[in-house]
């Protein structure tokens, strides 16, 4: 395999693997900028993945499936919003609960619809997306960047997360702004799940998100809660994943050092296991403040009490 092919292979894999992360990270961005921690991304993605596969199977239409995936994520977000915005519950606790709720509810609904808790029926290749969701993801990155940069709507979200009192004083309802952030967040995370099931795979399978919701959250933090940098962080995660995959396939030249110790070091650093942990090492390094500052919105995680 020559180097050009290798580059194409890694590049293609990077773009595909990062698409669901980008959706979820953008989702996380909306709710976190408006002050609501979104640890429930994983659950929303799972719900989205299932709903998209189920609706595509039932209607034979992947576009409806994609939209259904978004709305399933939104449904999860409604439950989340009621607890954390209206009832002012602890956001981490409820977020974790939502993920557990999704991983239990989905097999249950699956059993009712398809008499199978583990997976939905196969979607034929003609009814799946090849790259549409990936393009949508990048268009969303740019439009959301514009939204936060230029529109008052984006400004309200930022203030709901930075200084909710100021926003309330200027006549914009913080609760309503946060609700819109959480709902959009659920929709986007659902789209991310849908990408997994009807674009990158051919059905929903049990727990297929495999921790991507948390990785998206990490990418968001690495990206400093900004759409473009967060998307780039997702791309970096996708790249290291792709690199790990490709390096497993090819024989890496093994230099013979005269010292046995150096040989051991070399085989340690080029082992597939080591490459697989690079994204996580990178996250920890960056979050620990190695590269610039990554500052969360000031009022993140604080419930807003209107009449203090």
């Amino acid at each position: 395999m020559d180097w050009i092919n290798l580059a194409f292979s890694i590049g293609g894999a990077t773009i595909r693997m990062s698409a669901p992360l980008i959706f979820a990270a953008l989702g996380g961005l909306f709710s976190e900028r408006s002050g609501i921690i979104n640890i429930a991304l994983e659950g929303k993605m799972l719900a989205g993945a299932f709903a998209a596969a189920a609706v595509t199977t039932l209607t034979q239409n992947p576009i409806l499936g994609l939209i259904a995936g978004g709305f399933a994520g939104m449904l999860m977000a409604i439950v989340y919003g009621i607890f954390v915005i209206n009832f002012k519950a602890n956001q981490i606790v409820v977020g974790t609960a939502i993920t557990i709720l999704a991983s239990g509810t989905v097999p249950f609904v699956s059993q009712i619809l398809f008499q199978n808790t583990g997976s939905t029926p196969e979607i034929p290749i003609g009814n799946r997306f090849i790259y549409t969701p990936i393009i949508i993801a990048w268009l969303l990155v740019i439009s959301i960047w514009c939204l936060f940069k230029f529109s008052p709507y984006g400004m309200w979200h930022k203030f709901a997360g930075e200084h909710p009192d100021a926003l309330q004083t200027s006549g914009i309802d913080v609760i309503r702004t946060r609700w819109s952030g959480v709902l959009v967040s659920g929709f986007l995370a659902g789209l991310g799940g849908a990408t997994l099931s009807i674009c990158l795979s051919s059905s929903y399978t049990r727990n297929m998100t495999a921790g991507r919701g948390y990785m998206a959250l990490a990418a968001l933090i690495v990206g400093g809660w900004k759409p473009i940098t967060a998307a780039l962080a997702c791309l970096a995660f996708g790249f290291f994943d792709a690199l790990g995959i490709t390096l497993q396939g090819i024989q890496i030249p093994k230099p013979e050092f005269s010292i046995q110790f150096l040989n051991q070091i070399w085989s340690f650093f080029v082992s597939a296991q080591f490459i697989q942990i690079i994204p996580y090492i990178l996250t920890i390094t960056i979050v620990a403040g190695f590269v610039g500052k990554s500052r969360p919105p000031k009022a993140l995680g604080q419930p807003y009490l209107r009449n203090r």
Binding site: N5, P107, T117, G118, L196, S201, S202, R206
Partner: protein, 338 residues
């Protein structure tokens, strides 16, 4: 006097019914692992065996199956099962193996059947499969059908059981064609690796791009991604195939799944339940290989026309040679010990 006779009579009846009901209707309990009963693989096969037994064999209608998603659940399940007179408790799958190993010594009176790992206790029947024999045969088939002389292997989680598949698969391929190139990759190093079809698909795409035209997966739920990759790359120069694992997966994508390496989990579960009913249940290590249907390759209406008669004869020959031990199949477990 009359009273005594009646009471003896009644007592004998009750004793009788008790012993009869115990002999006729043993209660079977089964614990599946994290992947759940619909994993299209190992757990599903065991669950089907259980369901068949429930319908056709005289076992108690109170027999139960549960999924243990984590070790604490497993602990609870075993505790409640041991209290509720289970004749045997089945534990399915490698994911629960370590936890169950720690728990079994606490219940010396209870009989266990552990599938897919060996536990040396007096009350345990360990059932293991000769994956090495099956994977060797699959490797030989893949090498026979490969046009590019490059094939691939994708494992789920990187554990010795899957390394055992890989070692034998490579040996089988080299047996047919010593110059063949085998790519191998693993989905991951954590338990998520069994449920990550997207990543398995990328691995498979990468192997296909490098020239492999047949990929064998031993990756549980992730294996679906390998099938998807074969389907996606199908229009390129060579026809691409994938090979399924654990249960017969030929039906999932007919014409793309070349064959599957099956494990006779369903049959072994039924056999074991039958032995409990016949009161012939024995403990110790039982191994199932090519000779007794423990492992095999799947040939059915979905993949019949992918093989010529010559192929079939050749495969039959290799299979009988493995059974007769004319071919030495390398075993990762033994190699790892040395």
């Amino acid at each position: 006097m009359k009273n005594i006779i009646t009471s003896i009579f009644l007592l004998s009846i009750t004793l009788n019914t008790q012993s009869v009901s115990a002999a006729i209707n043993p209660k079977i309990c089964m614990i599946l692992d994290k992947a759940g009963k619909d994993d299209r693989s190992f757990n599903q096969a065991a669950y089907e065996g259980f369901q068949t037994a429930l319908k056709t064999l005289p076992i108690s209608k109170e027999s139960k199956v549960i999924d243990a998603k984590e070790d604490t659940q497993l602990k609870q399940a075993i505790r409640s099962f041991t209290k509720s007179n289970c004749a045997v408790i089945f534990s399915i799958g490698i994911n629960n193996a370590d936890a169950i190993k720690a728990l079994i010594p606490k219940y010396p009176e209870q009989k266990f059947v552990v599938i897919d790992s060996v536990i040396n206790e007096n009350n345990v029947r360990s059932i293991i499969y000769r994956e090495d024999q099956g994977a060797f045969l699959i490797g030989a088939i893949a090498a026979m059908k490969s046009k590019t002389n490059e094939i691939g292997f994708i494992g789920g989680m990187d554990i010795p059981l899957i390394r055992r598949f890989e070692t034998a698969y490579i040996a089988g391929a080299k047996y047919i064609n010593p110059k063949i190139k085998v790519f191998s990759g693993y989905v991951g190093i954590s338990i998520e690796a069994w449920n990550n079809p997207t990543k398995a698909q990328e691995l498979a795409l990468s192997q296909y791009a490098q020239g492999a035209d047949i990929i064998f997966h031993a990756a549980g739920g992730s294996g679906l991604g390998v099938f998807n990759a074969a389907e996606k790359k199908d229009n390129l120069k060579y026809k691409k195939y994938a090979i399924g694992c654990d249960s017969n997966q030929n039906w999932i994508k007919p014409g793309i799944v070349l064959t599957s390496m099956t494990k006779g989990v369903t049959e072994t579960v039924i056999d074991t339940i039958q032995s409990v009913i016949d009161d012939k249940f024995s403990t110790g290590k039982n191994s199932y290989g090519l000779s007794n249907g423990g492992v095999d390759w799947a040939l059915d209406k979905y993949n019949k026309n992918l093989f010529t008669n010559k192929d079939l004869e050749k495969i039959k020959k290799i299979k009988s040679d493995i059974i007769a031990e004319k071919i030495q199949v390398p075993d990762y477990y033994k190699e790892a010990k040395n």
